[in-house]
């Protein structure tokens, strides 16, 4: 395995809700190599999304070490973590989470607002990202004028536009029909294979998981097995 871009060591995650403490992850250790496309599978409540949140720097572990792209995330404060996310992680959500009042191009430009690029550079980069995902002709359309598949492509373009180290996808095909889902998964595969993007994807769909290069199964906060699939 090449160098690990994601490394978790003995990670615990507990949520406290009122007087109740719920242990979601227990002593979890995991390495993901640069350039891997990993599918995280498991039943609801198994801790997949929590693990994804920890890897993406959206949440902090209760115990253990998390290193992503060479950075110990458990050592960063919220401001530094936000800057780190902007630089290293692109997020894709099940329901796309595009800004409804912005055009596709403006949505894709959002992460670039955090850079020093000029307006014209931001626009050019956003159009390049939209072209990469095959939806440049919809640049001026708003999310409500796009199909689910198209909206998810825009969301992927937004995740890619700042050239992140890692793509984190939470059920990216959960709201799509089979055909659109396959197109999106194929796109993710291309990004992984041809552009070398490391992708961690949570999915319930075994067919979606087949597009990944490795499948990880979780249950009750622990990894059950890891199967590396032949490319």
């Amino acid at each position: 395995m090449s160098e690990a871009i994601v490394s978790l060591r003995n990670v615990d995650k507990r949520y406290v809700r009122g007087k109740q403490s719920v242990e979601v992850l227990k002593g979890l250790s995991l390495d993901i190599a640069k350039g891997e496309f990993v599918a995280l599978m498991g039943p609801s409540g198994s801790g997949k999304t929590t693990l994804l949140n920890l890897i993406g720097g959206l949440d902090t572990a209760t115990a253990g070490e998390i290193t992503v792209a060479g950075q110990r995330l458990d050592k960063l404060g919220s401001g530094a973590l936000a800057r780190w996310r902007a630089r290293h992680v692109g997020f894709v959500f099940q329901f796309y989470n595009l800004m409804p009042m912005l055009t596709a191009q403006r949505n894709v430009e959002l992460p670039l607002l955090l850079t020093n690029l000029t307006g014209s550079q931001r626009k050019a980069n956003a159009l390049a990202a939209l072209t990469l995902v095959g939806i440049a002709d919809r640049a001026k359309h708003k999310p409500n004028e796009l199909s689910g598949g198209q909206a998810q492509r825009v969301a992927i373009a937004r995740a890619l536009v700042a050239d992140p180290t890692l793509l984190v996808c939470d059920e990216p095909t959960g709201d799509l029909d089979r055909k659109s889902a396959d197109e999106v998964l194929h796109l993710l595969q291309i990004l992984n294979r041809e552009h070398g993007k490391t992708i961690v994807m949570v999915t319930h769909d075994p067919k979606a998981a087949e597009f990944a290069s490795r499948q990880l199964h979780m249950d009750k906060g622990a990894l059950l097995e890891a199967a590396t699939l032949a490319a």
Partner: protein, 388 residues
């Protein structure tokens, strides 16, 4: 500036709500601008140059208390006083009490000398006025209002002065001419004015003979107005009729203020307007942020820091308030000429609108900060949990 398109788009996310909120705020800022302008005018009576060389001398204790006519010569002897005239409040209306007439008994020679170059009166009308004891010179606007013509006899009902001959309150005047004011500001102030002979008034009234309501002076050097005022008042200090001399503008305002504490009333209304704006805008902002929790969470997810999110929400609030303030205050600026017509004797300045923008910024900060803090403290995982 790079965040402006995002702010602008966010503002118009719910077009109908934004339009109605803006309309409400525009009306509030329009009212704010008008009241602020009037309040400013009352608070800064000597702001303009008009009438800077005019002084008014009244009874020290009340304008309703008369002064002896004999003061005229003493005032005239004060160095710096170029002319003195005397006037009394006639308190008249035409036919019905709602038809108020600003009827003033004036001494023709001294009054028109003091106000030289302020009136436009034809030589023919002025001569007719001088020659007619019961003659009246009437503002052309007032003539038009009541459909009067030169040559008409008009009865005016005084609310104060009974006539010596029969005890009647009704005085009859012959309209012998019309006048207009050269200065447009003065024109609006003179719109209700009718001038008639002081001699007729003094000899015809059943009481108060030999007294005047107030004196009006023109000074040689307006910069010495305060010193001249002091000298006039010093002449009558410790007499049975002490005087109070002040710039004409302040006198006009004091006259209007007899209606009540105008400043307090205006500030109370301004306070109510501002308070209403607080609730209106605050509610809109809270609702707007509440609806956008998932969107704000997405912004934070892709790397927008707490400070940027805080700034975006406050920026949105500022944008909303400043747009409303610009339009509302702009409309109140356009309304100034109309307000001038209704507020004779008060000079309105657009400068008074500037605090309106300050109020808009203050309002934006007050209503924007609570939702901005909420957005800043948003827990990404919890906020996304509802909609991933």
């Amino acid at each position: 500036m790079k965040y402006f398109p995002l702010l602008w788009a966010t503002l118009w996310r719910k077009k109908t709500r934004t339009i109605f909120t803006l309309l409400s705020m525009i009306v509030a800022f329009l009212l704010f601008g008008i009241l602020e302008t009037v309040d400013y005018a009352f608070a800064h009576p000597s702001g303009g140059a008009t009438g800077a060389d005019k002084l008014i001398t009244t009874n020290k204790y009340s304008i309703t208390l008369a002064l002896p006519f004999s003061y005229t010569q003493q005032i005239r002897s004060v160095p710096g006083v170029a002319e003195v005239t005397w006037i009394s409040w006639f308190g008249a209306y035409y036919q019905e009490s709602k038809n108020f007439i600003f009827a003033l008994p004036v001494d023709t020679g001294t009054y028109f000398n003091l106000h030289k170059d302020e009136f436009i009166v034809s030589a023919e009308h002025m001569q007719a006025y001088r020659n007619t004891r019961t003659g009246a010179l009437v503002s052309s606007k007032l003539m038009k209002k009541f459909g009067w013509k030169v040559g008409d006899k008009v009865p005016l009902h005084s609310t104060i002065w009974t006539q010596k001959k029969d005890g009647s309150l009704d005085w009859i005047f012959d309209i012998v001419g019309t006048f207009d004011a050269k200065d447009p500001t003065q024109a609006s102030q003179q719109a209700q004015t009718l001038l008639f002979h002081y001699d007729l008034f003094d000899e015809g009234r059943s009481f108060g003979k030999g007294t005047v309501g107030w004196f009006e002076e023109r000074v040689d050097d307006p910069t010495q107005s305060a010193a001249t005022s002091s000298k006039i008042d010093a002449l009558f200090a410790n007499s049975s009729n002490e005087t109070k001399t002040q710039p004409a503008k302040e006198f006009a305002l004091a006259f209007i203020k007899q209606l009540g504490d105008i400043g307090f009333v205006l500030r109370a209304i301004l306070g109510a307007v501002f308070f209403t704006l607080l609730f209106l805008t605050g509610n809109t902002m809270m609702q707007s942020v509440r609806e956008r929790i998932p969107e704000l969470a997405v912004l934070k997810t892709i790397g927008f820091g707490d400070g940027i999110v805080l700034g975006l929400v406050i920026g949105e609030s500022l944008l909303l308030c400043l747009i409303a303030a610009a339009i509302g205050l702009g409309l109140s600026f356009l309304a100034l000429p109309i307000i001038r017509l209704g507020l004779q004797g008060v000079e309105l300045s657009p400068t008074a609108l500037i605090p309106g923008f300050g109020a808009a910024v203050l309002l934006a900060l007050i209503v924007g900060t609570p939702p901005a803090l909420r957005a800043m403290r948003l827990n990404i995982v919890d906020a996304l949990a509802d909609k991933r």
